[in-house]
């Protein structure tokens, strides 16, 4: 009997990166940020305030192991060891589970700081679409949070909801965005709010002859509508940027832009590392402040 390969469509690709422009580092300060999210964990290493290396992995069932795994993968080709890192900040849902951290900071603060670095100081509204929550954040030109609103009660409008649909339709979660535009005309959004009901609705649509692409379009449309409501409640102030895993899903991003009639800033880096990057930046600021005080 032939073996049937069990594909896990929700499994997005893990990655690591090392800055090719820093061949050999001889600076004065290395800081790190580790963002343990519900779904993904990132570690970012900064050398004198410049991203040096990062990793982006799935959070396992054990958060301390995820933190150690992520930092080791980020350090892999840098020649660094944990002792070389002066200061580490843990953030995200599992921030208390970073065994080697010096401090914890909430992911909201870190995302605003990270988005300020990635997108520049003009960013005022950040939509962070994570694995199990969705946040609308306002910040000032320094990346300091001025207000925020979040949904962490319901999987509709989160990455987890998208994963459920990916598994149902047997489509890789990374392909959903592009596929959702392979349609003749934009269908009405999936009407169910609850992911469980949306799953039944998607099954019914498929059975009535809709293509996978059309169902994905209807689902991305529904998700965009949901987060637009959150954005509108918190107020929209330009410039606007999206962080987190769903920022990589053009099917949702372009529909949010269409519904709001605005353009989101184009990311120059992996949008999933914003939290960890912000944490590493905050670490750098803290150490510099402390050093300045000591030198007075």
């Amino acid at each position: 009997m032939a073996e049937i390969e069990k594909v896990e469509y929700w499994r997005w690709t893990e990655s690591n990166w090392r800055n090719p422009e820093i061949p050999d580092w001889h600076g004065s300060l290395i800081t790190a940020g580790v963002d343990i999210g519900s779904t993904s964990t990132q570690a970012v290493i900064m050398a004198d305030g410049v991203p040096f290396a990062y990793s982006n992995m799935r959070t396992g069932s054990n958060s301390p192991d995820s933190a150690i795994g992520a930092i080791n993968w980020a350090m892999k080709d840098t020649g660094l060891t944990l002792e070389d890192i002066t200061y580490t900040i843990g953030t995200g849902y599992g921030r208390v589970n970073v065994p080697f951290s010096n401090k914890t900071v909430t992911e909201i603060t870190c995302h605003a700081k990270g988005a300020n670095y990635i997108y520049g100081p003009t960013v005022r509204t950040i939509l962070d679409m994570g694995g199990q929550d969705c946040k609308a954040i306002h910040c000032d030109e320094k990346g300091t949070v001025t207000s925020f609103m979040m949904n962490d009660k319901c999987a509709a409008g989160t990455g987890r909801g998208m994963e459920v649909i990916a598994n149902l339709l047997a489509v890789r979660v990374e392909d959903i965005g592009e596929m959702s535009f392979q349609i003749d005309e934009e269908p009405a959004p999936v009407s169910s709010t609850c992911v469980i009901f949306a799953k039944s609705e998607a099954t019914k649509l498929m059975r009535s002859g809709w293509t996978k692409e059309k169902v994905l379009a209807a689902y991305c449309h529904a998700m965009a509508l949901r987060v637009v409501r959150l954005l509108e409640r918190n107020g929209m102030e330009l410039d606007f940027a999206i962080t987190g895993g769903i920022a990589k899903n053009v099917g949702v991003v372009r529909r949010i832009e269409r519904l709001m009639g605005i353009q989101a800033l184009k990311p120059t880096m992996d949008t999933q590392i914003a939290g960890a990057l912000g944490a590493a930046l905050l670490g750098k600021e803290l150490v510099e402040k402390k050093r300045a005080k000591e030198n007075q």
């Binding site: 199990q132 319901c154 999987a155 169910s192 709010t193 609850c194 992911v195 469980i196």
Partner: protein, 256 residues
């Protein structure tokens, strides 16, 4: 006079036949993919069980979420109206009905004469519905029917936080990893649902004579958690799954 009530639920379809206010036949089938076919099949089954023919039935009333799909009835009634009549048939003096289905939950408050005072419906979110319990049973690797007994055997007051089914699945798995027992987790799941239903109850006003109908009413663990949260005894009629269909058949006899 013989009337029929057919309740087209999202998961099961039921038919009952009633003669002069007495239940003469009942049948239940999964709704599956074709609500119309399920309604016809279950109706025929009830007829054959009672030894009756289609012509013997004076009126057929359709209720349930699938009622718009089934066109061959003599009329329809919504689930609130049908559920209220059904529960009153079983428990004549009840004044608050919790009607929990696979995909929705309704709390109905009645006046003394049985008319509806007000009601609350949650059909947007699976957090207070049978589907939630099924998903948690899957995560615990026990059957939905076992959830009640497991919960009744709990040894501590475990609380669960997640409201969303999708998040609750992860929470249950984390609790299993944290070496909590399935008994305590089942209890925590039921308490979570009971607390969500309690907020619906508060909106219609807390009374004394509770009745629970719908499939999840079989779950003694859930009913016990609800009694605990409301501080009231909860009546569960024998044919709890058929109450809405019975209500439709009663409606059929009322509205000649």
């Amino acid at each position: 006079m013989i009337t029929a009530g057919i309740d087209c639920g999202s998961q099961n379809t039921r038919a009952v036949l009633m003669q002069d206010g007495k239940l003469v036949a009942k049948a239940l089938l999964p709704t599956a993919f074709d609500a119309d076919l399920a309604a016809q099949t279950v109706f025929e089954k009830a007829l054959s069980d009672a030894g009756l023919k289609r012509e013997d039935i004076d009126r057929v009333i359709i209720t349930g979420v699938g009622r718009e799909i089934v066109k061959w009835g003599d009329g329809e009634v919504n689930e609130v109206g049908a559920g209220a009549r059904g529960a009153r048939y079983a428990v004549p003096d009840t004044d608050t009905i919790i009607d929990m289905g696979a995909d929705s939950c309704r709390v109905i408050r009645l006046n003394d004469d049985g008319s509806i005072m007000k009601y609350e419906v949650n059909d947007k979110c699976a957090s207070g519905a049978g589907t939630f319990i099924e998903a948690m049973a899957r995560a615990l690797q026990i059957s939905t029917e076992q959830m009640g007994d497991f919960s009744l055997r709990h040894t501590k007051e475990l609380a669960t936080n997640a409201q969303c089914v999708v998040f609750a699945e992860s929470e249950v798995i984390s609790l299993i990893h944290a070496k909590e027992t399935r008994e305590d987790i089942a209890y925590g799941v039921h308490m979570g649902i009971a607390n969500r239903i309690a907020s619906m109850i508060r909106r219609v006003g807390l009374t004394d004579r509770f009745t629970m109908i719908g499939g999840p009413a079989f779950n003694k663990g859930l009913v016990s958690c609800m009694s605990k949260v409301f501080g009231r005894e909860i009546q569960v009629p024998d044919d709890n799954q058929f109450m809405t269909a019975i209500g439709a058949a009663i409606f059929a006899a009322e509205n000649q």
